[in-house]
Amino acid sequence: MRRGRLTPGAVRKWGFIASFLAAPLAIYIIFFVSPNLQALQLALTNSRGISPDFQYVGFENFTRLFGDEVFWAAVRHHGLILLVMPLVTIVIALFFSFLLNLGGGQRNGQLTGVWGSSFYKVVFFFPQVLAVVIVGVLFQAVLNPQKSGILNSVLGWFGVDPVGWLIKPDLALWTIIGVMVWQGVGFYVVLFSAGMAGVPKEIFEAAALDGANRFTLFFKITLPLVWNTVQVGWVYLGIAAFDAFALVQVLSIDRGGPDNATTVLPLEIFRQTFTYYRFGYASAMGVALVFLVLTFAALTLRVTRRERIEY
């Protein structure tokens, strides 16, 4: 291989590799890399998207962006969702999957879940099968601020006055986070269940012989052993926290309202693009979003790096 660069063997070898790489690489470049680069280019223009004429305006879009209150509101909302939503989802999902897989103790020599766990597994996964828009419409009915709203009428039995779940500015975002958690938990229950099923049952039996109760079994044995899976879930959920477009679009009052209390970056980009036709400005926002997501991903991978567990 050293003497000639293009021996027939080398051609065959690299040709073989290239033939496999070409198609996916082309798709990646056409549909991912090039739009991103174009967005970067558009972000430096005053394009309105509907006419081919536009001028380069340098960093004007960005200076305007950093002075935009709505933009900062959206970034703050992402920050809050990022802090709360993955944590709550993971805690609930871990709790449920522990109960479903190990919480029922021994039966016939197998560690089993609580009574009826196979039924609950289906129920928990159900929201995952629904389209996000359907979830949104469903929760519009559930969270209706009138007395007749599903949640409010239930609360009414206990004498609680109707709550304006989505119309109170300081409550609306929390409500939407709640819906995101409801929608996401099922998938992570299944993910963590798979992680727990991958642990040899003898380890749990050894722990039972060593004197572990359910509490220590969960915190000292189960959690460390599924930690890799939890990290994967964390990254998924973190990326989902930068989206939230469909749910906010369908569920919130006035698309991101009331008074921009629930708006998120994808929604603002959508609005700037297709309502105001400010393609250049929207692209600048998109570039900012890309940097936010990249920073999050890099930080997560950095912080959560840990040695692999081997059984």
Binding site: E202, E205, A208, P224, E310
Partner: protein, 407 residues
């Protein structure tokens, strides 16, 4: 330390499968008891019931002076070693050893003392800070042992702890296990499917089959006085040779006739085996251990009183210190449910050799390495007629065995 007593213990799985059937067993204080049997015989289930990892469907288990039927595993004061070690992969060796002690709220200096003692005993001192993934199979196995030792329990339960090790390591670990038991003197119940492990480790060995206890005795007694065809065929390697034979008595005395051979039966056999007289003139199953054969030439001088059997060696397996001579005798193989069950769990090669022999039986003789016998050669073997085994054709029970009198 404590004794373990099983009284009529049953295990019935959903669907009605009886994994353990009316098991009665008394394991004495400080005894090393081996449960052995082919796969699916219920030996692991029995062990897991003692540990509390499986419910008991019927009967009673007593550890020390407590009935433990409804005690959870952690309150039974026992420690278990698993086949795949079941070490906690996210903890260091030290943490693995200390985990059970920490959960029992033991003081820190006491934990450190016990962990260090166990590590010293098992030669694990330099590995204390490592995680299991960075250890070899033998080292992991020793950590698993250490985790049991530090607890200082009433009894050790071991579920095929050596099966995941390679052959050489298994032999040395077997020796260390023996030493360890002598040093600690803790009651031990040990499950294995390997009859060599059973013979070498056990103070007593309990042979199980289909959830039913076959025989409990010292290894030597199991080998010399098997209670039935199954135990006879299962214990010992190569396994015992069987054939249908007729017990006759004529002017020259009693003899057993099969496949054109006639071996004299010494009078002592009738004295030892009560009821053997009644089988004279009837068909029986004859069993001869491969080790009770010897090459007539190599055994020159020592063969006085031994019966001679001329055979043709089909295959010879030279093992260095001895030679296994495989030969066919002109008699159909014994097809009793007990011999089939015992043979099925034997070496694959033995099972594969059967079709080649047609309706003849393949026998094995273990002879001295000085014999120099070659495949295809005719060889004269001698048989120690004092060690012939006789079994009932119908029941498969050993004729005249004390446990079978009246059965």
């Amino acid at each position: 330390m404590a004794s373990i007593v099983l009284n009529n213990v049953d295990k019935i799985y959903a669907g009605g499968v009886k994994a353990v059937n009316g098991l009665n067993l008394e394991i004495k204080d400080g005894e090393f008891m081996v449960l052995v049997g082919p796969s699916g015989c219920g030996k692991s289930t029995a062990l897991r019931m003692i540990a509390g990892l499986e419910d008991i469907s019927g009967g009673e288990i007593v550890i020390g002076d407590r009935v433990v039927n409804h005690l959870p595993p952690k309150d039974r004061d026992i420690a278990m070693v698993f086949q795949n070690y079941a070490l906690y992969p996210h903890m260091t060796v030290e943490e693995n050893l200390a985990f059970g002690l920490k959960l029992r709220k033991m003081s820190k200096p006491e934990i450190a003392k016990r962990v260090n003692e166990a590590a010293k005993m098992l030669g694990l001192e330099q590995y204390l800070k490592r995680k299991p993934a960075a250890l070899s199979g033998g080292q992991r196995q020793r950590v698993a042992m250490g985790r049991a030792i530090v607890r200082e329990p009433q009894a050790f339960l071991m579920d095929e702890p050596l099966s995941n090790l390679d052959a050489k390591l298994r032999v040395s670990m077997r020796a260390s296990l023996n030493q360890l038991h002598e040093r600690l003197g803790v009651t031990t119940v040990y499950v294995t499917h390997d009859q060599v492990e059973a013979m070498t480790l056990g103070d007593r060995v309990c042979v199980l089959r289909d959830g039913i206890l076959q025989q409990v005795d010292t290894p030597q007694n199991l080998f010399d006085k098997p209670v039935n065809l199954f135990v006879a065929g299962f214990m010992g390697s190569p396994s015992m040779n069987f054939t249908y034979a007729e017990l006759v008595r004529d002017g020259a005395g009693a003899a057993v006739a099969f496949a054109g051979y006639k071996l004299p039966v010494p009078d002592t056999a009738f004295a030892e085996k009560a009821g053997l007289e009644r089988y004279i003139g009837k068909r029986i199953i004859l069993g001869i251990r491969p080790s009770d054969f010897e090459d007539a030439v190599a055994a020159n001088g020592a063969s006085a009183g031994w019966a001679r059997v001329p055979v043709k060696a089909n295959v010879t397996e030279e093992l260095g210190s001895e030679i296994n001579v495989l030969f066919t005798i002109d008699a159909p193989p014994v097809e009793h449910k007990d011999t089939v069950a015992a043979a099925n769990d034997g070496d694959e090669e033995e099972a594969a050799a059967l079709p080649l022999t047609g309706d003849k039986s393949l026998w094995t003789a273990r002879v001295n390495a000085r014999s120099h016998v070659r495949p295809g050669q005719n060889i004269e073997l001698v048989v120690d007629t004092h060690n012939l085994h006789f079994f009932d054709v119908e029941s498969g029970l050993s004729i005249g065995h004390p446990a079978n009198v009246g059965r």
